[in-house]
Symmetry: C2
Subunit: 112 residues, 2 copies
Amino acid sequence: MFDPVCPSDLSPIRFADKWGGMVIRCLEGGPRRFSELRVPLRGITAKVLTQSLRTLERDGLISRTEMAGPIRHVEYELTALGRSMLAPMDVACAWTAEHWDELIDAREAAAS
Amino acid sequence: MFDPVCPSDLSPIRFADKWGGMVIRCLEGGPRRFSELRVPLRGITAKVLTQSLRTLERDGLISRTEMAGPIRHVEYELTALGRSMLAPMDVACAWTAEHWDELIDAREAAAS
DNA sequence: GGGCCTGGTTACCTTCCGGGTACCAGCTAG
DNA sequence: CTAGCTGGTACCCGGAAGGTAACCAGGCCC
């Protein structure tokens, strides 16, 4: 789903850290487990994902819940605050999509 | 106008690099010269401002014009692309302002 | 000539971010 | 006993970002 060489790297708008925005997108559809997040975030290592999740939690955007039971089960979920950030993110995505060609052109013109 | 310890550092939404968003805000009202930009961006050094301006120019968000004449005169101005980014920035600012307390609370809760 | 304004450049240093590898405990299935 | 899944942690590394201090040319004023 998300590529390590994500096109959004070209966008001047960034949410949280490098993977933060994508993590939030992954949680948009409901709670997810650690290993479930690693699937769409292709190429992310456990360490980096942990890092990103801890930061998002510190900033109050997601919550971490250890479920009871014999086997280990941790769920990450968007908080109300995190969910409220989806709106600005949509705006940013729309802007990036709309001006995609201009962004590419600017880079190419600058490279030459 | 802008503080080096800008409150927006707490916002998970960032535009361009550290000073990029503020530079764009400074140019909102029309073209500005290098030294005019240094006034509101308190504490920014020439090198860092140059760096930021070069990046913004590379990304097609601002334009740099050397004016003719005996004394040196350089003007920086928002391009159409740069100006179009003001809308997403407004949305981001509004979100940050609206959820300011929650952002602070989250940090404080995490610190304890 | 000396000082100041213009808009920078250069070298250097420090911090942070992201990533790679290895390793861990707890539980389960074969 | 061994392998595999869960969700991580510890350690090291390289590169980029951000900042400091010094210096620069060109033109102005005195």
